[in-house]
């Protein structure tokens, strides 16, 4: 049976929330982030504003704004970014390749996907270190810093850590 429409425009190109829910979310690196759990809509503008991602059992969910979404395909939702929260647990190496510790937490600029500081756990006894974003050389499999461990320790000593 054909459906009636009172939209004022052609809605045939649109997709429904059912088409998005349950889809895999893939970041810029091709990393699987989770599956779409909710579609977020602004109650005033009635605009699509983002998605909520289920990252799996015992993991915190993640909200991703519309501006970080590249496209929605038949199978997956592609992001324009690497989700910075994914660096938690990565190993941090200094400039010379020495292991400093693992990323225990991150601080972002507001709610943007931009790192302000990363917190590095050095083990059970040693104090946690802070590394600002300008100390970070690359983030992919692990984190490589632009500075030697000595410089990082000096920076933290200045902060009073």
């Amino acid at each position: 049976m054909s459906k009636k429409s009172i939209s004022g425009k052609n809605l045939s190109r649109g997709i429904t929330s059912d088409d998005i829910l349950g889809k895999e979310v893939i970041d810029l690196d091709g990393r699987f982030i989770g599956v779409v759990e909710k579609v977020l809509i602004d109650p005033i503008d009635l605009d699509f504003i983002g998605i909520e991602v289920d990252k799996g059992f015992l993991k915190k969910g993640l909200s991703i704004g519309k501006s970080y979404i590249d496209r929605i395909s038949e199978v997956a939702v592609f992001l324009k970014i690497k989700v910075v929260y994914e660096i938690k647990g990565m190993t941090v190496f200094d400039k010379m390749g020495g292991i400093i510790g693992t990323v225990s937490d991150i601080e972002l600029w507001g709610e943007k996907n931009k790192i302000k500081n990363i917190y590095i756990r050095q083990g059970m006894i040693k104090k946690e270190l802070v590394a600002p974003s300008d100390f970070i050389d690359s983030i992919a499999y692990n984190v490589i810093l632009t500075v030697k461990k000595k410089r990082l320790l000096e920076y933290n000593a200045k902060l009073g850590n």
């Binding site: 893939i26 190496f93 390749g97 984190v143």
Partner: protein
């Protein structure tokens, strides 16, 4: 360090050099921070006496990698850091098409001679014949390999005859 006689012309002072013995068994990290393995040998040119490359041992079941010094960015007593991500490490990675569909896994890589310049990857999956994908059809390398939207994977199962 013990006091020593220094006999050099233009060479660095002893303090500014690395002891190769200490550099054995240290970790090798790729450009993106992946720990590839440990240095098992350091190879030197027999006549010119400069560093030619290192052999990276990756455990019992994996082939070691001999990588030339031109791909090494930094040496220290703690690590060797490479300038590149060796493409041989792509083996086993997932390949996704532009829709996010799993196309298969990398079975082998074809490089330009022995360099780290990739020509194509050989992809395979269960019930499907291995097929090659040219580098021009690859959008990005990361956790998985993403293909460009204009590339369409032809389904060919193992019972189909090859052309």
């Amino acid at each position: 360090m013990k006091d020593h006689h220094r006999i050099t012309k233009r060479e660095n002072a002893l303090e500014d050099t690395l002891n190769l013995k200490d550099s054995l068994n240290i970790r090798v990290i790729s450009k993106s921070g992946q720990v590839i393995g440990k240095v098992s040998q350091i190879r030197i040119h027999p006549t010119k006496m400069f560093l030619e490359g290192i052999i990276i041992s990756r455990g019992i079941f994996k082939k070691p990698i001999y990588i030339g010094v031109s791909y090494i960015r930094r040496l220290s007593h703690e690590s060797f850091i490479l300038k590149v991500d060796p493409f041989v490490l792509l083996k086993g990675k997932k390949v996704l098409d532009s829709h996010g569909r799993n196309v298969g896994r990398v079975k082998d890589v074809v490089r330009k001679e022995h360099s780290n310049d990739l020509k194509e990857i050989l992809v395979g999956s269960s019930f499907r014949k291995n097929f090659s994908i040219n580098i021009s059809n690859i959008k990005s390398f990361g956790e998985s390999i993403m293909l460009k939207p204009n590339y369409h994977v032809k389904k060919k199962y193992f019972w189909e005859k090859s052309e």
